[in-house]
């Protein structure tokens, strides 16, 4: 099944004085279970592409289909539900809620979905177990290392059992060892649970995790390797 499809997608940022073409006529198809690595230099449009797939932003023209659903005409509420139920986000800066414990951070997307306290606690503990942090579940983000925070963020991203995992430079702020741990967990989710992973990076060493690599330059797909 095709979980992500971009048809002739352009994104243009307009200011009073100039126009920036962040993406230009991008066509892309990602199938369920793929591990796609998007690479390219700064300003090539990687993050813009990820934001469009993540339904955080809308294209200037073209179509974005997520899980077969055309997103352009969806209301804010429908987009929110699509993000909540289908997509898991992993950010470079982890973006955990500082007032919540690791367990509560993992519970948060389930709270937004209205899952019962018992069920979400059970699930959050299980997910923290998967990322190897069951003993740290009561700690606040500032009591965790960068690698641990990112692993909590992965558990949070998996909370509502998403089809797609969007990772924006997930190892960008981590040392090599922690980075590898994080990538191993993501890869495991892809291989064992069939979660589609779309990963944005400019670190060439991460390319090995993907089954294909999309190279972006100046808002255009320069080439697709593998797949």
């Amino acid at each position: 099944m095709r979980v992500v499809e971009l048809v002739d997608v352009s994104k243009i940022y307009k200011t009073e004085f100039y126009e920036v073409k962040a993406l230009e006529n991008v066509n892309l198809e990602i199938e369920e279970g793929d591990f796609a690595v998007i690479m390219g230099p700064s300003g090539s449009g990687k993050s813009t592409l990820l934001n469009l797939i993540g339904c955080l932003d809308k294209p200037t023209s073209g179509k974005v289909l997520i899980n077969g659903i055309e997103t352009i005409n969806l209301s804010d509420k429908e987009l929110t539900e699509l993000r909540r139920d289908t997509i898991g986000f992993i950010f470079q800066t982890y973006n955990l809620i500082p007032t919540l414990s690791a367990l509560e951070n993992v519970e948060l997307p389930m709270i937004f979905k209205g899952i019962s306290k018992y069920e979400r606690e059970r699930r959050a503990k299980k997910l923290l177990g998967i990322v190897g942090l069951e003993r740290e579940m009561d700690r606040k983000p500032n009591e965790l290392s960068g690698g641990q925070q990112q692993r909590v963020a992965i558990a949070r991203a998996l909370a509502n059992d998403p089809k797609i995992l969007l990772c924006d430079e997930p190892t960008g702020n981590l040392d090599t060892k922690s980075g590898e741990q994080v990538m191993d967990i993501i890869k495991e989710q892809n291989e064992e649970r069939g979660v589609t992973v779309i990963l944005v990076t400019h670190d060439p060493t991460l390319a090995k995790y993907g089954n294909f690599i999309i190279r972006l330059r100046d808002g255009k797909i320069e080439g697709i390797e593998g797949g």
Partner: protein
Amino acid sequence: MYLELARRNLQRAKVRSLLAVIGILIGVMAVSAIGIFGESLKATVLENFEDVANELIVGPNYYAGYRYVDEKDVNQIEKLPYVKSAIPVKSDTLLVESKKLKAYLQIYGLSEKDAEELFDAEKGVIRLKGSCVVGKNLADTGDIKVNSKITINGREFRVAGILEDTGARFDINPNTAVIISQDDFSKISDKGYTMVIVKADRLDHVDNVKKAIEERLNSREDKVYVFELSIILERINEAFAQINTFLMAIASISLLVAGVSILNIMLMSTIERTKEIGVMRAIGAYRVTILKIFLLEAVILGIIGSSIGSVLSLAGGYAIDYIILQNVKYVFQPGTLFYLILGFSVGLTTAVVSGLYPAWRASRLEPIEALRFE
């Protein structure tokens, strides 16, 4: 959980939250304490009028050519239903002379029984047989003592008693007057009954008594006018309600300031937490969820500030009553509860209204913009 999240967010900026709570607390305290004081002030003033509230004054209708209320009419009034007593009063302005005083003063002719019902003696006794009683002010200015002698219209009277200061009254004002018996009165003045003080058996029968008197006495022509003293009570009530509203409006300025400070604090908070809002929106929070979280923070600040403020306003009301009225018995009357609830509600409303804009603003943030915020 949202409540817990809101609570922790407030805890994150402890000093700031504390300041917001203090702001609301002071505002609520000012409004409630002043309300309590106003209510006590009203109760204190009304206390002086309570015993005259069931009174009606019946006087001759001068415009229809009547100078006095005649004996027959007084008897008729006495027999009406709901009438507890009818006290006919004669009065005239006559020359009073004592050792130190020579003045034209108000002289009332009353029966001894009625005089005893209306007044209390501070010195001596109320005895009107061949003697008189004088008002407190008159006794002080004229240096009149019990057993001293005064002449009224050339006739000599021994002073049997000096009356207590009665304060302001609306029927008879004895403080600067002399009271003699009706027999003696008819010997020195030819005037008849200038008024009848009628007391209804209960306050809620005053209207019935008024109607009955008018029907009985004014059936053919308007011989008498009837004036209810309870009208004065109503006027006092109205006046105090206005004064109280005004005082509380001034006090509520402090709540307005508190509201602005909450607005400011919460706006700062939304700006600081922009990225967090973006993250929550990205992982599945609706706009209304964000609105709820921020409004809950305002509600928590409002509830804490208003609760403490309400409790402290009791102490505040007590202190103001003690300092200004030197009387704290009205602090714990039922009306106080109304002002505590009012203060609490106004405080909470202020907090929620102030939190509304920042919460709305937070909920309107686009997730992508919010996530980019550093």
